[in-house]
């Protein structure tokens, strides 16, 4: 399964890229995050992050499908 992952703010700094194509066998967002965390050395826990899939907020348990756009978002700080 091929996915596109976007990174913002401190997550982008750790990943070193704005976005990447990822090939994975992870079933859900939580599994995908575990793989990416090991690869990029993210310091933020999943508990500090929110998930978006295809431009909408999603749960960590949402089942991933081929072609999904996934984002792990650190706490926001607009305004």
């Amino acid at each position: 399964m091929n996915l596109r992952v976007l990174y913002f703010a401190s997550m982008r700094d750790h990943a070193g890229v704005d976005a990447e194509r990822v090939t994975t066998v992870a079933k859900d967002a939580r599994g995908l995050f575990g793989e990416l965390r090991a690869r990029h050395g993210f310091v933020l826990d999943a508990a500090r992050l929110r998930v978006a899939i295809n431009g909408a907020f999603a749960s960590w348990e949402q089942v991933l499908r081929d072609g999904d756009e996934v984002v792990f978002m650190p706490p926001v700080s607009g305004g």
Binding site: F8, L44, A52, F57, M73, V76, G78, G79
Partner: protein, 147 residues
């Protein structure tokens, strides 16, 4: 998003005067605006400038949801919000909120609701650049993300 657009991400300067014109209604007797300006300090450190990053698709959608909630919850005539992205200098307008209403109570309450919710929920991130050469992404309470 169906219907009028009340929330905008803006790459260049925000024109609060132009946005305010969209709030005029013959039955509106009150208009409250909030402007967020870039401050020269935060958490005891001297700030030189800052950058905003946004997850544009989700930010636009979540912004519209907040503005629609405000119009539904409060006795509001109209409401608008614009938030900058990109690089800003001290004193620059970072976010603008405007609400018109028949009476001032609803205008104040809705304006406060909108800026509070935007700061909590809209996927926009602030990176402050400090006088000591460091920079850092901030949490919603303006404390630094763990290094």
């Amino acid at each position: 998003m169906i219907g009028i657009s009340r929330f905008a991400l803006v790459e260049a300067s925000i024109d609060g005067v132009a946005l305010g014109r969209d709030l005029a209604r013959p039955d509106a007797g009150a208009c409250v605006t909030f402007e967020g300006w870039v401050r020269d300090h935060n958490d005891g450190r001297r700030v030189l400038r800052l950058d905003y990053q946004a997850y544009a698709a989700l930010a636009a959608n979540e912004g519209e949801i907040i503005l629609a909630e405000a119009v539904r919850r409060f006795a509001v005539a109209e409401a608008r919000c614009a938030h900058r992205t990109g690089s800003l200098a001290i004193g620059d307008l970072a976010v603008w909120v405007g609400v018109s209403a028949a009476h001032r109570g609803a205008a104040f309450d809705a304006c406060r609701f909108i800026i509070d919710e935007v700061k909590l929920r809209v996927p926009i991130w602030k990176n402050e650049h400090y006088a000591d050469g460091e920079s850092g992404w901030l949490h919603p309470d303006n404390t630094p993300v763990s290094r």
